[in-house]
Every structure is written in structure tokens, then in C-alpha cells.
Amino acid sequence: MLRALAGRVVFAIILVVVAFAAAFLVTALAPGELSDDGPLTHEQTTAERARLRLDQPVALRLARRLAAAATLDFGESTAFNRPVLPLLVERTAVTLTAGLSALGLAILTGIPLGVLASRTRHRWLRGGIAAVSVLLLSIPALVVALLLTLLGASIGLPSFAVMTIALALPAAALLERLQARAMTTAVDATCLRAAEARGVPRTVVTWRHAWPLSLSAVLGVGSIVASHLLSGALAVELITTRPGLGLLTLQALMGRDSNLAAACAGMAALLVGIVTLAGDVVQLSIDPRLRADDSDMATGGFAASASQEVRP
């Protein structure tokens, strides 16, 4: 398992580097130049291009950028005329506060509801939770955000709340479905049937024994939830015009600001990587079987099984 974890770290690092380089290349090679418009004379344009090293070959610029990024120097943003790093940190914080609140909200509602949907004896409750979840899963964050904006305009909902709720609803539904399915599988285990047969109370079986067993299936999709949240955040930021990472990425891409675009893409990949790793570490700490058994988690294979799971 530790080896697999190391593999995950390597994969995450590769992901960040590839994202960084790809975004840099894409913006650098895209048609349209920074100095094409504006009131500058030809000499000024040439001087500016030389200062920004835009006259050098792209491969050389990429190599320089990567080397500089390794020392945490992300260069200067041409669209904002300020260093990339503080800008990036500032905007990422905006996305992270809403994103993490949404994640917390989704975990706090989705997980208990999933357990409830799986363990309740009332069929109507089970069916009701499942129906609401499927419905919420089907309404993308973009649409939820628009509806909330409409609502917010009349009752004065701040954009932070709009964003958090819009992101949390689909994520909670996703977690609820995963948890319900994992729970239903978990209580089928022989040990739990034995416990129930011996008269262990249903609540104890559910929370003390079955829930930890079911958690690994839920934690395994940390990366999926994280990338859903980031994609959703991008859409919601477009609507609420909250100046977060998504909007910054868009501005960088539209302004052909390759330093900034590269840093934004790298940051998005880094966030997904961190959430995935956090899920793995929690999984490792609660599930002793994983520490003993090393064959379970290959770096890549897991992503497939995870994406298979995301089905209501």
C-alpha cells in the first residue's frame, strides 16, 4: 500500500507538470499576440516582445519557465502586470474557501443520508432519498447557480453562499449514492450477518462495524469529487463572477497570458492531487487490511474502478 501511495504521489507530480507545460504551450502557441493591439509603436512592440522573451522559440521559453517554476518563480502575468504567485494564491484562496465549505457540507449531508438510505427499514424513505439524489446529480452546478442567483437577488444571498450551495448539492448527491451502494455491499459481509444474528443492535452494526467497512469505496473516489468540484467551481464563478481560480484561468487563457495560464492549470491539477492523496491517506489509516495487503491499489487501475462507481 505504501508503494502504491508513492506511485500516486509520482502520478500527481507528473499530472501537475504535464498540466503546467500543456497550458503554457497552448497559450503560447495560440493565435493572437499580447502586443497586437494597443497604441504602441512598432519599436515599442518589438522592445516589449524582447523584454517578455516572446521572440524566443517556444521550446526554449517552456524549458526556462519549467526551470524557474521549480524554484517557485512563476514569472509575471502579462494580463495583470503583477507577479503570478501572489495573484494565484489570492484567487485560489477564494475558490478554496467556497470549495472546501462545499466539500464539508457535502460530506456532512451526503454520508449520513447515504447510510440512512441504505439502512432504513422504510421503503419510501430509501426511495425518496435516492430520487432526490438522482435529481440533484442531474442538475449541473451551472444551473443550480443560476437558479440560486435568481433566488439570491430577491432575498439577498451573498455570492459565497450561492457558490457553496451550488457546488455542495451535486457533490452531496454523489457522495450519498456512493455511500448507499457501499453500505449495502458492506452489510452483506458474513461478519456483519454474524454480528446481527448474535443480537448486536442495528445502530451499532451500522455505525461501528459496517460504516468503516464501506468507507474505502467512498474515499476511493476523492479525485472524482475533487475534479467535479473544480469543474463546478469554474462554471459557478463564471455566473457569480467571484474572482476565483476558474475565472482567473479563463482570463489568462483569453488574455493569452501563458505564465498565468500555466500556473493556474498546475494549481488545478495540484488541488485534485492533494484531495486524492488525502483520501488515500485517510483510507490507509482507517482500513488495516490495506496496510497488510499491497496488491490492491495499482496507480492507474483505481481511476477506472472509481469512474465506474460514479453512477447513481
Binding site: F11, I14, L15, V18, A19, A22, A23, V26, T27, L29, A30, P31, G32, V134, L135, L137, S138, I139, P140, L142, V143, L146, L147, T149, L150, G152, A153, S154, S223, A226, S227, H228, L230, S231, L234, A235, L238, I239, G246, T249, L250, L253, M254, A261, A265, A268, A269, V272, G273, T276, T299, G300, A303, A304, S307, Q308, R311, P312
Partner: protein, 318 residues
């Protein structure tokens, strides 16, 4: 399994079947409506009626009272209608159009734009889907049936794509292209972008099934009997991966519709006056406008219906 267990699984089966049917029916209704757009529409997509900016849906003639916020008075006189004249129904005179879903900020017919916008959004989705399924199946079958380093390499590339937030991938690829494009070029490029973003999901699933199927006895028997690789792929692997491909394609539908909407919303989509669900939603992003004209959210309902339909239809028996 006990008798009770069997009965409950039969019930689950029936429930599954019905949710699938509902999903397919939803998709069918939206598709039919969109296909019948030329007959169902009540006007032209680009014709503007400045006196009817943000006008509410009404069968009565409206008179503008106040421009900000848009306030209308319904006159005691119905809009003269012409039935079954090329289209099902439309306003008889060009100056008094029928607006079944109200007007947008330029006084254009939201209902007509919704139908034609859906046409564009959904055909783009289908085009992207065709590309994603084609690339994904070839890559998945190659990886699954050949194995070895081709398998590893293809799947690592797929993982890199999957691990990234999907909208970022689409946005980045779209940004590499010129910002304003002609309609045909924009359509082809966006379909290509969607296909490139979607293939890894299909490839992963196909590869999983193909790799498993390859080790099954009947395939081994076929190989022992001297069947060629092509025969095995066509006769044994392709039929086995078909259900997986259908499910994955259905799961990609919501993602693609949403990607189109987000790209167009961000200004990377089609230019005015061509309506698509994403470009139409741009108007709905202003809270003030939205409050006085909530019918501008119609495309969002369209997106939600398609998403719900595809999600329900992909709910297969596992």
C-alpha cells in the same frame, strides 16, 4: 438466496427498468422537440422586436409601460394567430409575434431560440460523442487486446486526461484556437475538443471489458482453433464491449451538454445571433434581468432535462 431475496431483486429489476424507460422517454421527447424545431417554432431566431424586450409570455397583445424594469400592460385584445401555415402556430402579423416563452432582452422569441439552440447544442453533443466513442473504442480495444506497453502507455495517457477537471481540459483546448470563428469551423472544432476530452472515459471502460474478455475460455478456444486477431476482436470483443460503450456514452451526454453551455457562456462558443443553450444562458446571468424575466432560464431547464434523461437511461443492471 432466500425466496424473499429473489422477490426483492425482481422488484429492483422492475424499478431499474422503469427508471430506464423514463430516462429514454425524456431524451426522446427533447430530441423530437428539437428535431421538429422548424415546425414547432413560432418565429425566427434572429428577428428582434424592440417593443417586446423581456416581454412575458402572453396570448394578449402587450403594451410597454416602463422600460426599466420592463413592465407591460396586457391589452384587451388577443394576438391574431395563424394556425398550420407551414408551422403549427405563429402570430399573423410580423409586428405582433406570438411569444410562448416570452422575449429576451432584444425581444426575440425565446421558445423558437430554445428549440433551435437545442438543435445546435445536441447535435454538437452527438458529434462529440461519435468522435469520443470512435477514438475511445479503438484505443480501448487496442489496449485491451494487445496488452503490454501499448496498454500501459494508452491507459496512462487516459488517466492523465481523466484526473484533470473536465471543464479545464475543454477550456484549455478551446483556448488554443482562434477566439472568433465561422459557424462551421466553430462547430467542427468544438466537436473535436469534446471528442478529445471524452475518449479516455470510453477507452478505460472498453479496455477493462476487453482485457477480461480476452482471457475467457471461449476466446481462448477460438484462438486455439486458429482464429485471427481481427476475428476475435470483431466476433468476441466488440459484442462484449457494446453495453459498456452505450452506458459510457450516455454518461458523457450530460458532461458534453454542460461543456458546450459553459464554453458558450464563457464566450468561447458560437457568435450571435446563432442560438445555443449556452449562448442563451448568458442573458440569464444578470440577476436584475433574470428577476424580471425568469423565462430566460428555459435553456437551463433543457440542460437539466437532457442530463436527467441520460442519467436515468444509463442506470443499468450491474
Amino acid at each position: 438466496m432466500t425466496a424473499g431475496g429473489r422477490a426483492s431483486s425482481a422488484r429492483t429489476h422492475a424499478w431499474r427498468f422503469s427508471t430506464r424507460a423514463v430516462g429514454i422517454a425524456l431524451l426522446a421527447v427533447v430530441l423530437l422537440g428539437v428535431l421538429a424545431a422548424p415546425i414547432l417554432s413560432t418565429g425566427q431566431v434572429a428577428v428582434q422586436h424592440p417593443d417586446l424586450a423581456l416581454a412575458p409570455p402572453s396570448v394578449h397583445r402587450l403594451q410597454l409601460v416602463e422600460r426599466l424594469p420592463p413592465t407591460y400592460r396586457a391589452l384587451d385584445e388577443r394576438v391574431p394567430l395563424t394556425w398550420l401555415d407551414g408551422v403549427v402556430v405563429r402570430g399573423t402579423h410580423a409586428s405582433t409575434p406570438l411569444l410562448p416563452l416570452g422575449g429576451d432582452s432584444l425581444g426575440r422569441d425565446v421558445w423558437t431560440r430554445l428549440l433551435h439552440g437545442g438543435r445546435l447544442s445536441l447535435s454538437l453533443t452527438l458529434a462529440g460523442l461519435a468522435g469520443a466513442v470512435a477514438i475511445g473504442m479503438v484505443a480501448g480495444l487496442l489496449a485491451g487486446s494487445l496488452g503490454g506497453w501499448i496498454d500501459t502507455a494508452l491507459m496512462r495517457v487516459a488517466d492523465l486526461f481523466i484526473a484533470w477537471p473536465a471543464l479545464y481540459v475543454v477550456l484549455l483546448m478551446r483556448a488554443a484556437m482562434p477566439l472568433s470563428l465561422g459557424f462551421r469551423t466553430a462547430f467542427l472544432l468544438m466537436a473535436g475538443v469534446l471528442a478529445l476530452a471524452g475518449w479516455p472515459v470510453v477507452a478505460r471502460a472498453v479496455r477493462g471489458v476487453a482485457a477480461l474478455e480476452r482471457t475467457r475460455d471461449h476466446v481462448l478456444a477460438a484462438r486455439a482453433a486458429g482464429a485471427s486477431s481481427r476475428w476475435i476482436v470483431v466476433r468476441h470483443l466488440l459484442p462484449a464491449v457494446r453495453p459498456v460503450v452505450v452506458t459510457q456514452a450516455l454518461l458523457l451526454v450530460p458532461a458534453f451538454v454542460l461543456a458546450e453551455a459553459t464554453l458558450s457562456f464563457a464566450g468561447f462558443g458560437f457568435g450571435e445571433p446563432t442560438p445555443s443553450w449556452g449562448t442563451m444562458l448568458r442573458e440569464a446571468s444578470d440577476a436584475f434581468v433574470l428577476r424580471s424575466a425568469p423565462w430566460l432560464l428555459a435553456p437551463a431547464i433543457g440542460i437539466a432535462l437532457v442530463t436527467l434523461g441520460a442519467t436515468l437511461a444509463s442506470d443499468n443492471d450491474r
